[in-house]
Structures are given as structure tokens and as C-alpha cells.
């Protein structure tokens, strides 16, 4: 069954038209990568799903129900949780409080805060630190932890590895793999394409706000041209 369906979706910031007739299909329990250049519209797509763009049109269905007109909190309470690009840690709340708030608002079976500390031991030492005082990577970890704690059905990850040290990236990979095994559906955008592709079964490429390609990761790995044209990976001109 498809968990999330976007059909002919258009999104706008004020007068600027960003997404053009975008289609997206995500099945239960799969990981889908959303790829594309800077400014292609990946973040906007995730924001469209969560209801945070100012204006969106088209059909957006979650578990068969139309959510195109739902408010942000309503969509969230359906189990759709976003780890935003800018991390959005509550600056005046402590690490623990950041997680507690998430836990308080969880609509499913929230995870234990301790569980998250086990996953990110760095945070454990910083329990009482205020969000604003965390390092960039620590904030990123907290942001992921905060979403996980809410027991999402559909987890939207916007560049979750940004700012994470290589070891932590590995840890994150493990956690996400685990989470997927537990019945969570994931949509991920990444500049770290390798990370995304390793985790995902399928991928979409977005270019200038429209679908450029869609298919399985295996297919994509065959297509040097796509990787080259839209994702600029694998190019050999690094010097």
C-alpha cells in the first residue's frame, strides 16, 4: 500500500512558483531518496508534505487520506515527522526538554528518552545544556532524536548528515536502518548522495521543481548520465 502520494503538486512562496506538477509515490516501509541540485526543490517538497509552505496545490495523500488542506500540526499528528534542514532546536530548552516536548506531543508510542541517549551518547553528557549552546553536529543529532522519539509513521529527513562527524554518520546509518526495520517509512534528501543511496531502495530526482527521474536505486546506479547531469557525483575532475 502506498503511504504517501503526491500528484500534480504545485507549491509557491508568495509569487514564486517552486514546484511544478510534482508526483511522488512512497510505499509502506521503504526508504525513498529525494535527490537534486541545490535549489532544485527538495526541501520545498518536504515542506509541502508537512504543510509548511505558504501555498500548495494538487493531491497529497497520506495513508489514503487527502492531507492537502490539513494544518501543520494535524499532519504531524497523523504521524508525519520532519527533521528540518535548519535543525530547529528549541534554543531556550535543554536537550532533555527538547526531547520531552517531542514526547509530550507524540501521537504514537513515544520512545524513551534514554533510548535516544544510548543512540547518541554525545547528547547524554549534554542533557542539561540549552539547545542554543550545542555545537552544530550536536544540534543535528538532537534534531534527529527529537523526530525519532515521536514514533513517526513517515519520517522526512532533510539532509540529516550535514555537520556530522564521520563516526556519527555511521551511527546514524545504523539507527536509520533499524528504524526502517521497525515499520517506519522514510523520505530522505541528502547532498551526501552515497549515504542516501545506500539507505534507499528507490530515488527521485528533482530538477527545477519538477520530476526529472524516478526509479530504483539499482537502476540509478547504472545511470552514470543521471548521476552526472543532476547530481554531479562520480565526476572525475576533482583535483
Amino acid at each position: 500500500m502506498s503511504v504517501l502520494t503526491l500528484e500534480d503538486v504545485n507549491s509557491y512562496y508568495g509569487n514564486s512558483h517552486i514546484l511544478f506538477d510534482l508526483d511522488l509515490e512512497v510505499e509502506q516501509n521503504e526508504v525513498v531518496a529525494l535527490l537534486g541540485r541545490n535549489g532544485a526543490g527538495k526541501t520545498t517538497t518536504l515542506r509541502t508534505i508537512t504543510g509548511t509552505v505558504p501555498r500548495r496545490e494538487g493531491r497529497i495523500e497520506f495513508r489514503g487520506e487527502d492531507i492537502a488542506d490539513d494544518s501543520v500540526d494535524k499532519i504531524s499528528n497523523r504521524g508525519v515527522k520532519l527533521v528540518p534542514e535548519e535543525r530547529r532546536i528549541f534554543p531556550t530548552l535543554t536537550v532533555t526538554e527538547n526531547m520531552q516536548v517531542a514526547r509530550d506531543m507524540s501521537s504514537g508510542n513515544p520512545r524513551d528518552i534514554q533510548e535516544m541517549y544510548d543512540v547518541f551518547p554525545v547528547l547524554d553528557e549534554l542533557r542539561e545544556n540549552r539547545g542554543r549552546n550545542l555545537s552544530g553536529g550536536e544540534q543535528q543529532m538532537l534534531s534527529v532524536a527529537r523526530a525519532l522519539i515521536q514514533d513517526p509513521d513517515l519520517l522526512l529527513l532533510d539532509e540529516p548528515t550535514e555537520g556530522l562527524a564521520p563516526v556519527i554518520v555511521d551511527d546514524l546509518y545504523d539507527v536509520l536502518s533499524e528504524v526502517v526495520a521497525e515499520d517506519v517509512t522514510v523520505v530522505i534528501t541528502e547532498q551526501n548522495v552515497d549515504f542516501a543511496l545506500e539507505l534507499s531502495e528507490r530515488a527521485y530526482i528533482i530538477e527545477k521543481g519538477a520530476n526529472a527521474w524516478g526509479g530504483t536505486v539499482d537502476e540509478l546506479n547504472e545511470r552514470e548520465d543521471l548521476l552526472d547531469e543532476y547530481l554531479s557525483v562520480g565526476g572525475a575532475e576533482a583535483d
Binding site: 508537512t50 509548511t52 494544518s71 500540526d73 530547529r88 528549541f90 531556550t92 506531543m105
Partner: protein, 300 residues
């Protein structure tokens, strides 16, 4: 030549003023702390609470509706509801539409309500002064010594301010509302992403803030002369208090209110006109030395 009796009387007067001001300032501070809106109409909500109480007591009548006349105690409830509902109207009907604009836009929106509501009250109740006696239950005073006595009603008003402060702390301690509110006030959009119904939360907060002002206004009725200009007279002092105490801090509002109340009453003993000057000087000093206020930065 300042006698002990006078100092005591002024102290009681100052505490009464402080208690009234606390009830305005605490709501103002609450709304600012959560919504980041400096509610200029807060004084007007206080004034509306006062008129609602007057109406409930039967001292003024509303055209086409007439008098209510159910007495002082039910009047407190009427005042709380009246101010609270007007607050909800302002927030849910208007301010909500401009949350993502400059803070000044919200401030001016509330200023527009100052102008409009003052006029509405004026048209409804006239612009004359209204004065009533304390309720029978609290008439008279407690004699402390032969020269010192404490009017019952004033003691009651002071007590109420303490009760309200305690109630706020109990609510914050025993529920996770405080945390939610702080999270929302620091990042509204993220809170919504976590599932917080931000508009509803804001409306509730505005209701509570407004209702407290309404309660303050109703309690003021027997000790203050009520005119439609009342709102504008108290609002600046309420700002001063909220800032001195620390915007968003309830304990700060409490301490600030009593400091200002007492300085208004006692200051006039020292130098004529000083009562007016002291609060502003105090605000300047606090802002320069501790901009976040005496209790700023403290939890909720």
C-alpha cells in the same frame, strides 16, 4: 513630619495598587512571553473587566440590555469572562493573521483595539467616572493598633494577587504546559511540526492573560474611579512592571508590580511628582544593568 501611620497607610495603598498592577502585568508578560506580542490593549482589557464588574454590580447599564445587578462576587466571573472573550476575539480574529509579520504590526493591531474598544466602552457606558463601595462582606477594616488599620477589601485584593501567582506556579509545576509554551514561544513553526496546535495554544494563552486583566479590573472597581480612560492610564505602568520584572517572568511581574505600586504611593511622600518619575527611572536603570529584567531568563 512623616508619621508611621501615614507610611503604613501609603504602604497599604501601594500594595493595593501593586496588586492591581500585577494582575495586568502578569497577563501582559505572559502574552509577550509566549506570543511575542506586546499587547497594547491589555490596559483596555483591564478597563473592560472593570466595566463588566460595574455592570454586574448594577452600577452601570448597557443600552438595550440594561442592568445586570447580580452583585460583586458573580461580577468577578462576568469580568473574567468578558475580558477573556474580548481577548480571544482580538487574538483569534485579528492578531493571528499577522503573526508572521514584524512585531510592530502586531503591536499596532492591538493599538487599534485600544482606540476602538475605548470608544465602544465610552459609547456604551458614557465617559463619566464610576465609583462604588466594596462588597458588604468586606466592608470595614481590621484594626491592628489604635492608629493602624487595614481595610478588609484592600487586604483581599492583595491576597488575590498572591493566590493568582501561586495558582500559576502550581499549573506550571504540575503540568507540562509550561514546557510546551516555552518551546512554542521559542520556535512556533517547529512546535507545529511536532504536533502543537499553535493557534489554539495562543488563543488559550491570550484568554488567560486577558482574563487576569479582567479580574484585576473587577477587583479595582471599589478602590479606583472607573472611566474609559483607565486602560491608557495603567498600560504604561504595566509595561514598566513587565520590563522591570523581566518580560515573560511571572515572579518578576509580581515583584515589579509591588515595587512600582509602593513607589507610586510612597514616592509622593518624598518629593511631589516623584511618584510618577520613579517607575521610569527604575526601568531605565534596570534596562541598563540587567536588560532581561530582574527575573529575566528565569524559567517561564
Amino acid at each position: 513630619m512623616v508619621s508611621l501611620g501615614l507610611v503604613f497607610d501609603q504602604l497599604i495603598t501601594g500594595l493595593t495598587i501593586g496588586a492591581r498592577l500585577f494582575l495586568i502585568a502578569v497577563g501582559l508578560s505572559l502574552i509577550f512571553g509566549v506570543l511575542d506580542v506586546l499587547n497594547f490593549a491589555h490596559g483596555v482589557l483591564y478597563m473592560i473587566g472593570a466595566y463588566a464588574a460595574l455592570w454586574a454590580i448594577g452600577a452601570v447599564s448597557i443600552p438595550f440590555i440594561g442592568l445586570l445587578g447580580i452583585g460583586f462576587w458573580p461580577g468577578l466571573v462576568v469580568a473574567i469572562l468578558a475580558a477573556g472573550l474580548v481577548g480571544v476575539l482580538i487574538e483569534a480574529g485579528f492578531i493571528r493573521r499577522v503573526y508572521d509579520r514584524e512585531p510592530l504590526d502586531q503591536l499596532l493591531l492591538t493599538f487599534a483595539f485600544v482606540l476602538m474598544l475605548t470608544d465602544v466602552v465610552k459609547t456604551t457606558f458614557g465617559s463619566g467616572s464610576n465609583v462604588v463601595d466594596p462588597p458588604g462582606l468586606l466592608a470595614g477594616s481590621l484594626t491592628l493598633t489604635s492608629s493602624l488599620s487595614l481595610p478588609n477589601y484592600r487586604a483581599f485584593v492583595i491576597l488575590m494577587s498572591i493566590v493568582v501567582l501561586a495558582a500559576i506556579f502550581v499549573v506550571l509545576q504540575t503540568t507540562n504546559v509550561g514546557r510546551l509554551v516555552r518551546a512554542t514561544s521559542s520556535d512556533r513553526d517547529m512546535a507545529a511540526l511536532l504536533g502543537v496546535n499553535v493557534p489554539r495554544l495562543y488563543t488559550v494563552v491570550f484568554f488567560v492573560g486577558a482574563a487576569l486583566a479582567g479580574l484585576g479590573g473587577a477587583l479595582a472597581v471599589p478602590t479606583q474611579s472607573i472611566t474609559p480612560a483607565l486602560g491608557n492610564q495603567v498600560i504604561i505602568n504595566a509595561f514598566v512592571i513587565a520590563v522591570i520584572g523581566g518580560l515573560g517572568s511571572f515572579a518578576g511581574a509580581f515583584v515589579g508590580a509591588y515595587l512600582v505600586g509602593i513607589s507610586i504611593a510612597v514616592g509622593s511622600l518624598i518629593v511631589a511628582g516623584a511618584g510618577q518619575l520613579i517607575p521610569f527611572i527604575a526601568m531605565i536603570v534596570v534596562l541598563l544593568l540587567k536588560p532581561e529584567g530582574l527575573f529575566g531568563g528565569a524559567e517561564a
